[in-house]
């Protein structure tokens, strides 16, 4: 159709496109073209699309490609023929909209110009043809305003001030109360403003208007707002945007006209009845802006039954055509239905799950395709209590959504207070600047955790997610004064005991007594999970340290425990003193005595865990954290010593001894210090006690109840082959002393969480039955990012400066950490083809990371119990995507 066959085709009529041409025509252009194909040209206002390639060429050259003007002129001529009207015609002008449309939807980010084609002459023609002078002048006023704002960056306030002034002058409140003369005066004033700001007259030539509007859309792609949106949504700058030029239709031509948006199914629940909003005698922007109260789409059946019937048919047709729930925009002009846009509907988790199940039942989709319509990231909302969606409340502060779910309770500032309150049956929210190991008891006792510092990977966030406790961190508007025991927010002071509510899914904090809605795995969700289990290849386990965690994990479908952190068992109030005695021991002999006291407790822990898991596998990691984590903080001790000195207390010597030990164990970079298997090498008696406890628990549970889990003993932080060799010797020696056989009763493996280990994984695999990738620590070491420090100190700036697009602790860093995982998997299996490979970092519950682990050939992922359902679906989606 192009006049210059050899030149690039920059412009496509709607009738030439299809949904497969999204890259070239953008999402909107491709969908409009597709609607022309599916619904027929009479259902879609005619128009054409200028390709994203033209935008790319424009960005590269700083100017439109040479042939573009000619191609636009030709397309416009064709449009005029189809419409039977001419742009700028003084009697019956063709009006067009000029809209952006990138490959991927960027709502509100790019610019739009409506009613283009009006000028001082054609406005009269429009008035005459529509027999509505006010409508014509309002349209012209809007166009002049929008064009100046969009095409020449004249600030919106400039226009708003003029309108406000005019309303004051006329003594009216609403725009709709302005009369034709007012609107005419405004259109003239706006043209004068245009000339003032640009030094040029307002373009009366519609061709020139069109040229400038197209440039404006191209330029809007490069604007800050769009750039920010792309960064957050990981849309490449290089894509560019298409421009759609479409004949205007008018929903504001009287009672047989109107505009609306509709979903092919209920937008909130997914139930198979269309939903949507409609406004009679209104344009699309009125529906969206919320100036007038919209009506439910159902009322259209009464008001305009014919159009309603057509719309229902269109929705069914589009849904069947796209095999997905649709979100459409439409306009009815004097009884005639025009479809302006369609796209796959964004939907909340509940609706997504319902649609997937119904779509299979209706034969619209097969199970794989149905699963692929679900956005895993949203499923979290189904697994935790939330604020009642109907509730109204005022936001006190907003922080980072660190662990999903909503909770409310009285403000407490210490773990001790939280525990006391829980004993008295009071519900609390633990509020702190940040949290440490000492606070963990409070996590159990409180309903939720709120901190003023930290990010998604802070201690509070990690522990809360692990326990499934709602948590908001980094709510920086709060100033938590632990000394004064108050929270300050601006001028306000909140005392201990004040009721506060948090929503860990949204990061919102409020003082209102919002109703909470409990979560449950609905029948539809259950169906989706069952299908996922049939389709996925990756196993899904849970990270669980207690029988309660394990029971929750089983309930949510975990096939085993992928990580039991034995140190969390020592954090409990009755264990800490014994653990400290062990650490403070001056000789191996004393240390062994202290360990002997810990042994029965540890055994009890394991028995509970084993009974909860039945015959499922349980991976137990031997002690990992640096020992000083179990000791009181230096500043706390110094204070206690001062007091003891003044009071001449008997405890002075003991306190001083503890301080000495704290100093001896202190490390500059504890993350890179004496932890993991280094503890086992230095003090083998600690690991010996733990293995003995595992072996005894296995025997006890076997005698008592029969089935016992397959235990996988996991050695953390291995760098060298020899470390694992030594620790494996230790495990086998102690276990066989308790009558357990390696390979039969248990296996021995290692965390792979250091870059060196990935390079020598073939050597390490000689002594390992399994690897479990510790992607948290692997991320810390591969990137040189301290999890505790990075998010609070510089991640925000890194996101802003577009160095990263999300936290590497949230989604695995494929170029670095991902390659280390691939490498270790590859050479590990080379040395030992039956090596079992899992991953137990936070990434195990992140859908994008799960997809990577599937592709990398791992056997299973392990995540916190509440992420298990998400991992199950994500694993199925990965299998489907990777298969096709």
């Amino acid at each position: 159709m192009s006049s210059t066959a050899a030149a690039t085709k920059w412009v496509y009529d709607f009738a030439e496109g299809s949904r497969d041409m999204r890259e070239l025509l953008g999402g909107k252009g491709a969908n409009v073209a597709e609607m022309v194909r599916v619904l027929g040209p009479e259902r879609v206002p005619a128009g054409f699309t200028i390709t994203t390639a033209a935008c790319v060429a424009y960005m590269a050259a700083g100017d439109e490609p040479a042939e573009l003007a000619g191609q636009v002129a030709e397309a416009l001529a064709r449009l005029e023929r189809v419409a039977g009207k001419r742009l700028g015609d003084a009697d019956d002008p063709l009006l067009v909209s000029v809209r952006s449309g990138a490959r991927q939807s960027m709502p509100g980010m790019l610019d739009t110009v409506l009613n283009l084609g009006l000028n001082d002459r054609s406005v009269g023609g429009l008035a005459q043809r529509t027999d509505n002078e006010r409508f014509a002048w309002d349209s012209y006023r809007r166009f002049v305003q929008m064009f100046g704002n969009v095409a020449r960056s004249i600030p919106g306030e400039v226009y708003e001030q003029e309108i406000a002034a005019r309303k004051r002058e006329r003594g009216v409140r609403l725009d709709t109360e302005l009369e034709t003369a007012d609107l005419r005066a405004l259109a003239e004033r706006f043209q004068a403003l245009f000339a003032e700001h640009t030094g040029e007259p307002f373009p009366q030539d519609p061709g020139e208007q069109l040229r400038q509007a197209i440039r404006a859309v191209f330029d809007s792609w490069l604007g800050q707002r769009a750039a920010d949106y792309r960064r957050i949504n990981r849309i490449p700058d290089e894509w560019g945007t298409a421009v759609n030029v479409q004949q205007m239709v008018f929903g504001n031509k009287g009672d047989r006209s109107g505009s609306g948006v509709a979903f092919s199914r209920d937008e909130l629940t997914g139930a198979p009845q269309p939903s949507g909003d409609f406004l009679a005698n209104a344009q699309g922007e009125d529906v969206v802006s919320g100036v007038r109260n919209t009506q439910d789409i159902g009322t259209l059946a009464t008001l305009m039954p014919e159009a309603h019937g057509e719309l229902m048919t269109v929705l069914t047709t589009l849904e069947r055509h796209y095999h997905d729930m649709q979100d459409v925009e439409f306009t009815i002009e004097e009884g005639r239905l025009y479809m302006l846009q369609t796209r796959n509907a964004k939907r909340p988790a509940q609706a997504a799950v319902r649609f997937a199940v119904d779509a299979v039942a209706e034969g619209l989709l097969d199970r794989s395709a149905a699963l692929e319509t679900i956005d895993c990231d949203r499923l979290d909302a189904l697994l935790h209590p939330t604020f009642d969606p109907a509730a109204e409340f005022s936001v006190l502060a907003t922080g980072v959504s660190a662990s999903p779910g909503a909770a409310k309770g009285e403000i407490v500032f210490t773990a001790v207070d939280a525990v006391q309150a829980a004993e008295q049956g009071r519900e609390t929210i633990l509020v702190r600047p940040f949290t440490e190991a000492d606070d963990v008891a409070g996590f159990h006792a409180a309903r939720g955790i709120l901190t003023s510092e930290g990010g998604k990977a802070s201690h509070a966030a990690l522990v809360a997610r692990g326990m499934g406790r709602p948590c908001v961190v980094g709510a920086s508007e709060l100033e938590v004064d632990l000394e004064a025991r108050v929270v300050r927010v601006g001028d306000r002071e909140l005392a201990e005991g004040t009721l506060i509510a948090i929503d860990g899914s949204s990061g919102v904090v409020t003082l209102d007594d919002v109703a909470l809605v409990e979560a449950r795995v609905s029948e539809h969700f259950q169906t989706v999970l069952e299908w996922s289990d049939q389709l996925r290849r990756l196993g899904v386990r849970a990270n669980a340290d207690t029988p309660e965690d394990a029971a929750k994990a089983r309930e949510l479908g975990a096939e085993g425990v992928g990580l039991c952190r034995t140190e969390h068992m020592f954090m409990a109030a009755d264990r800490v003193p014994k653990m400290r005695a062990m650490i403070l021991a001056d000789s191996e002999h004393e240390r062994r005595d202290a360990l002997a006291e810990l042994l029965p407790l540890q055994q009890e822990d394991f028995e509970g865990l084993f009974e909860a898991m039945g015959e499922r596998p349980v991976t137990i990691r031997l002690l990992d954290p640096p020992l000083h984590e179990f000791l009181p903080a230096e500043s706390e001790l110094i204070g206690a010593i001062e007091v003891a000195r003044v009071e001449n207390s008997e405890q002075l010597a003991e306190l001083e001894h503890t301080l000495e030990r704290v100093h001896a164990l202190a490390e500059t970079n504890p993350m890179l210090g004496t932890r993991g298997c280094r503890l086992g090498v230095l003090w083998p008696e600690i690991y010996e006690m733990q293995v003995e406890a595992i072996a005894r628990a296995t025997q006890a549970v076997r005698e008592r109840s029969g089935p016992v889990p397959h235990v996988e003993v996991m050695i953390p932080l291995v760098d060298y082959e020899r470390e694992l060799e030594l620790m494996r010797e230790l495990v086998e020696r102690v276990a066989s002393g308790q009558g357990l056989d390696a390979g039969v009763d248990y296996t021995v493996g290692t965390m792979i969480e250091l870059p060196r280990a990935c390079f020598v994984a073939n050597l390490i695999a000689r002594h390992a039955d399994f690897f479990s990738f510790g992607t948290n620590d692997l991320t810390q070491t591969a990137l040189g990012f301290s999890r505790d420090d990075v998010e609070s100190k510089f991640l925000a700036t890194y996101l802003e400066r577009r160095i990263v697009d999300r936290s590497p602790f949230e989604t695995i860093d494929e170029p670095g950490v991902g390659w280390l995982v691939r490498l270790a998997a590859w050479v590990g299996r080379e040395a030992r083809p039956d090596l079992k490979l899992g991953i137990c970092g936070e990434h195990g519950g992140d859908p994008d990371s799960v997809a990577f682990f599937h592709r990398a050939g791992l056997d299973y992922v392990s995540c916190s119990p509440y992420r298990v359902p998400i991992a199950r679906v994500a694993a199925a989606q990965a299998a489907i995507a990777h298969r096709s």
Copy 2:
């Protein structure tokens, strides 16, 4: 020669071997065989070697290989024929020694039995044949003792007690005062002891004696002492040891007999005159044991001119044959010279250098071969003052040799005291438990540094090495009490001001006023360095932060500065307050004001450096360490605040503000926190100031003196391509503002010191003119080892348990860190073939690591100035080794 052709040959006559059979025959066996070939059979006592393979088979099976006994018997028969004597013969017995001999020398580690073949009957024959009854019984007594000790593990004390008792009984002091009857009684008593301890009679059958002695040598390979030696010297356990059975010759047969050791050149200086020790009428063990005062080898010329002449000829012959300086053992039996052993001589650096130069002059070796005879690790001693080798002193304590060179001075405990003392012209040693950034000023002022904690990679060691200050760390016998201002060693208390001396090359600490000997690059060393420069491919630069360092680096042959750490410039006393003002600034505006004050100082620093380096390249790293390193410690501040509060001081508010900032900047793992280019991203104004200072300094020096270095601006700690892109933009923007052109006046590159960066080095290389591997940090992250913590906390145990054989901060960890370097070099050059590659970690001065960097294809290494000569030689050796 073997009777069973199909069976493995486990035994080789000396005449069958050669030096090329070291793997099979061990070092001693191969060298003895070689001597037979070179000097003729009459010069070497006859014998045979049981192979290392036999030892390996013995270790695997727990028993000798089946054919071994027969092969030994056959070899023994041949030996008896050659010797004309028979083992156990009652009239004229053949006596043999049984000695170990591994592939690589393990002095004193494996066991030896002498005089084997004696029994109750043959002792009489020996007495008769030698006409020396005392000699015969002393030989027998020694054999019974040695055999029981070596072959059956009877403790040496058991025998010593018997000898002591006998001496008491006889009222004599020396062994030599015992008479024949005593010796005879002892031989009998020792046989009885043997029976008591083993439950078996002492074997009278010489064949059985031989069998047990051979087993004993095999077993000694597996003993703890040998295992420890192998670990330290990285000798594989799998090698096993050979066993040499050799006819005994006797240097104690009268005045025409004797034993000695000799070197083909002066063992200390390398001067071309043989040196050595000799004892007339004595056996080899008397020479070594130091019981009698030995005579210089020169005296042999007078005493036994013929044997002396033969020895001189033999030394020349062996040196020419082995093309290296020889270290031999010999015995003269009644005027006849026997050579017992020869090997390439270990030699101190001075001798090594002298030999290399002389050997080339003499035509013995070409330059490459001469360079290969030098042990680079020893060269350090030539570059630093040492304790006078002739001085006698008593050792107070021993620590880790952290930075070479000797120093003495008064004990001081703080940097301030060291600075004050220096101003008064007093020399000091800074003594601390450990050091921190605040102490660096004291490093400049003191003559040496001594700490009770830390290892080779501790702060004290690193900074001291960087400055070339002698340093001993981890002298754990010292208890440094900073409060009481004393050092305790056992019961002793050393006050401030006490004279103390340290030798950083040996780790020795003494209170004696030992004389120090200054180092200078000798003429011979200079020649070796010049040859090295001709032969090496790797460039050698120095890490230098000051004009003084740079001048020293040039003097020692550095071709440029590979790393100027700009932060060290801010540690100086006049800079710290300004730096702190910058860090404490509450706004960008205030921060810029503070930076403006630092700018001229920083510019001055660079001018000095540029003038010192002339036109050589200088790599300047922009600010790297976390900012809190420049602030006072928390505990110090809290104390100061207490005082200020009590005194109602005006400084209180400022102190509290500082403490707040210290808290805000505090990080759990500073090594993985807000440092490197993260600082530049967060606070670009800091890097902008630094670049401006570089640019201004370049212009100023150019105007003043003409030649300026090629400046390489280096961005530290890059993870992401985008980080470098942003920082490069910053550098180019600021530099061009000062009239400098990228690529002409300077280049921009990055440190590669994080694992992630290695994987994406191809992307990073797009924005880099050069990479400099920061192998210190790369080791920390790849291994998860905090440099500050690892060596002090668990490295010792890791060495002991054979997990590592040396610190990975000393020699590069090839399997992990090495692969990361290779990877980054590979993909970096793939993206940019002209990418310049260097390394500026501590490893740049370690010979083994330099060899790796050569093989990995790097362009240059950069190390502390005092390691430059070592790197030059190591680089040449690497080129020679890699070429062949």
